[in-house]
């Protein structure tokens, strides 16, 4: 069930209506039932994987809790605790490995031996990637580590815990919530609150705008150009790559914001997943602002346990590369994702190595580091580096990505900027203008976020008629300019495939 499908538009009001109508103590169970229905509407069989992951991490949590209690009683249970964590990780990652990486491994093996002129031909398995498996697995594993570290008590109510793993707004594409934040809220369902309701509704509208008006519209152009990059070269590819950066941002931010809005309507506050990432002045900062829930997950549960930056520069760089390589692999079972991840790691290592030179250059040229112009320059440079890496993320394979970059640079069809040829790639001039206006709106929203200006609070302070006008206008914009309806299949959110 996609957020931008009719199914969800019917499902969600029913869930919300019932949620506030039934007694408070039943609400958790209602949300759990709704969440499982939400997941099963995609593929009912795969609900057992969700259930498996839930049971494994629930039991491991209880066992870890018992170890912690016994340790309080003076017994040493370190080995047993580690065993519990290892069991939880192995079982969960085994499932993830089978369903997400097995065929990738087989393919890679076949290719590798193929290069050595050895025919291996290990057959691939006909497995459908369970939607959201990476998200809920990581969320559940995060819980195991949190209990292991003693950051939280294990949840004893299985249904509450099952809801924590399967809470439908963030089940299939995040944010990957922390047990400390979400479990506590799920234990105490909130009462109906107009402010939360309005805030959630505004968030959902913004999310739908980003997804349906911008991301899906841009996708038409990007898909056309990337789908035939041998024909659409040079400027076409440059524009498509620039736009893809906006597309993936709007797509994923759209999903996250709808998820946050839906949760907020249900009285639950999810963590922010994006914080104006394209306004970052460096790649490290970008990753503190992009997909925050995943970045911080990797930081807390991989980078820091690996030693982080505490064991010298070389080890730090190695940890960075491992973290970003794994992050790439998390995004997709393909070498292009791994390279994408590694590239982001390299940008940061390069930035760190070049820092003294940059500092010298800044001093030499007497550049004011706090000036807007310098920041804009940094933002632009960061954006270009990130965008270059996106080519690997978007292309079908590593070779396609390399070819695309080559054709971007070598083809000299500059007239395409001016002769209207860009309007023959699925979007006419008016649609392009709409995209430009939409991007400007997004930029304003991001600048406000960057500066700590809360637009929703400004709306909330206005008279009711003005609030209604904002809502009506937003609804109309989404309905008229959104990509939906007959002849258009509700497009998956890009992050669903992870």
């Amino acid at each position: 069930m996609l957020f931008n499908s009719l199914h969800f538009i019917i499902f969600f009001p029913i869930v919300v209506g019932m949620y506030y109508l039934i007694p408070q103590k039943l609400r958790t169970y209602w949300l759990l039932a709704a969440s499982y229905y939400f997941y099963m509407s995609w593929n009912a069989k795969y609900v057992f994987l969700l259930l498996f992951s839930t049971i494994v991490t629930y039991v491991s949590g209880l066992m870890l809790e018992r170890c912690v209690q016994e340790e309080k009683g003076g017994k040493i249970r370190t080995r047993r605790k580690k065993l519990c964590v290892a069991a939880s990780f192995i079982l969960n990652l085994f499932i993830l490995l089978i369903f997400k990486y097995l065929n990738f491994g087989i393919d890679s093996l076949n290719q590798f031996f193929g290069y050595l002129h050895i025919t291996l031909n290990v057959p691939a398995f006909d497995l459908l990637l369970p939607v959201g498996i990476s998200f809920y697995t990581f969320q559940a594993l995060g819980y195991t580590v949190d209990v292991y570290r003693g950051d939280i008590y294990a949840e004893r109510n299985f249904f509450h815990y099952a809801l924590f793993v399967s809470f439908f707004p963030q089940l299939v594409a995040g944010p990957i919530e922390r047990s400390k934040n979400l479990l506590r809220q799920l234990d105490k369902p909130a009462k109906l609150n107009f402010n939360s309701f309005r805030d959630g509704f505004l968030l959902m509208l913004w999310g739908y705008f980003l997804k349906m008006v911008l991301a899906d519209r841009i996708a038409v152009f990007v898909d056309t150009v990337y789908g035939d990059f041998e024909t659409y070269t040079g400027v076409y590819l440059i524009v498509a790559t620039l736009l893809f950066a906006v597309q993936i941002y709007c797509d994923f931010l759209g999903y996250s914001v709808i998820a946050m809005g839906a949760a907020k309507i249900l009285g639950i506050q999810l963590m922010e997943n994006f914080d104006a990432p394209y306004l970052a002045t460096g790649v490290s900062e970008f990753w503190r602002r992009w997909h925050i829930s995943l970045s911080s997950w990797f930081r807390d549960y991989l980078y820091i346990p690996l030693g982080g930056n505490r064991k010298g520069k070389i080890k730090k760089y190695a940890n960075l590369l491992i973290t970003f390589g794994v992050s790439g692999l998390w995004h997709g079972a393909d070498w292009s994702y791994v390279i994408w991840g590694l590239l982001n790691g390299f940008w940061q290592i390069g930035g760190s190595i070049l820092m003294p030179i940059r500092k010298k250059l800044i001093n030499l040229l007497d550049i004011k580091e706090d000036s807007l112009s310098h920041k804009c320059l940094q933002m632009a440079a960061t954006f270009l580096l990130i965008d270059l890496a996106w080519v690997f993320f978007r292309a079908d394979s590593v070779f396609s990505a390399l070819r695309i970059i080559k054709r971007m640079v070598t083809a000299k069809n500059y007239w395409v900027w001016f002769d209207g040829s860009l309007y023959n790639c699925g979007l006419n001039q008016k649609n392009f203008m709409l995209i430009i206006w939409g991007i400007l709106l997004l930029l304003v929203a991001d600048i406000c976020k960057y500066k700590g200006i809360k637009l929703r609070e400004i709306v909330a302070k206005q008279d009711y008629w003005a609030q209604c006008l904002v809502v009506t206008t937003a609804l109309l914009c989404i309905l008229v300019f959104g990509m939906w309806g007959v002849g258009y299949d509700a497009a998956n959110f890009i992050y669903f495939q992870f």
């Binding site: 009719l6 006419n428 008016k430 649609n431 709409l434 009711y464 008629w465 209604c468 006008l469 009506t472 609804l475 109309l476 309905l479 008229v480 300019f481 959104g482 939906w484 309806g485 007959v486 002849g487």
Partner: protein, 477 residues
Amino acid sequence: MKKAKMALWAIAMIVFAAMLFRSVMFCLENKGAHNRNGDFFRVADECDVLFLGTSHMATEVLPLELWHDYGITSYNIAGLGQLMPVSYWMLINALDYANPKVVLVDCYAIEADAVANDGEFMHMSMDGLPLTKTKIRAVCDLYDDMDRRIEYLWNFSIYHNRWDELTWKDFDSRYDNMRGAQFQVALCEPAPFILRDVEPEPVDSVGVEYLRKIMEECRRRDIKVVLTYLPFPANESEQKVAAYVGQFAQEYGVDYLNFLKLNVVDFKTDCLDANSHLNISGGHKITSYIGKYLSEECGIVNRRQDGIVDWDEDYAGYQRYKVERLQGLESLQNSLIMMADKSFSLCLYVDGESKIWDYEQYVNLVQNLAPEYAFPTLGEIMGQGVDYLLLLDNKNRVIKEFGGEESGETETSFGKVVYTKTEAGERVLYLEGSEENLLVEEDENGHKLTVQTILIDHSDGSIINLQKFQETLKATK
């Protein structure tokens, strides 16, 4: 108190949003169906006759001409690509508003097994229906697929994408007042047509199934049904289907007009395309025949005395529309097709240097201006390289030809018409009360004009349209 105020605001804004949304929906909607059928609900209770069928019926029967010529009130609810199941539901919807005495059903494509065509044509039929229980039943009957049902019940789901193609016309809520009909102006060489004495070929199709439903519904409501098979250069297989419709009509004891056998139209001048549709000239002939039939055989009374003023106003609008279309035409061929219209009178002048008589299609089209007339002078002057004037007064049915050096004065319903030659050898044509010579030798750019047409409103003698054609037979602007 605060909550009450909030509730009031909420209600007010919901109403405002609903109105705004409705306006936006209207602007974005494709106006095709709205233009054709929007007027139906205004005049439905006045209609004695309804026409059903596919594009054949939609483009060949012109209700406002039936009104003008016979005082028959009718509406054409046929549609492009409208198969019998859709026609059935169009009728059921129409019967929620109208009480017709006669329903004419054209049976072209009755052998089709499809329930409905998808796409623009289907929307041209369904979009015009208000969202009622009947429409919901219709859409659910025609489509099993939920997406399709939503598409037709809430067409905003497809039209919201039209924001980038809106024109000022999309903001105009007025509709065509042509009572559902439309016409086309073009000419095509017809496919060979040989009328054969064929045996009926039994047809067992979804089309027949729904035609039976139409028959039963009309029988239940005591509405006379007339089946038709409108003319086109039908092949043998289609003629067998036409024969089957005759058998079907016999089975139900209803009249059947098989136009394939009636020789009402001339395919040489009336075909819009090679093997299917007729142009406006053919439409006039079919309409005239059906009008006579309805008056004489079905007892449909002339309602001109009933004080239904809207119909006359709409007929005047229809006439203006025809003139606008005519003025927009650029070829002599299409002008001649449109001028084969008995509601106008005309003068056609052909210079001696013109080559139009070399082309059979032009000879046919000129003769088609008065099909019952023999055109003796035209026969004489062809190939002679001399001037020719045809004067056609459709009100008093005065037809006068002048060939070569002939000149003269002719009394017409719009006054005396003088056609003569000056001492300088220049041809001149005057209408009574005017000293303006209507014939010009060259246009403003010095191009020789070889054919000139003057369309006259015979009710007041005013000139409606004056077109001049160069040697290429393209209109000069």
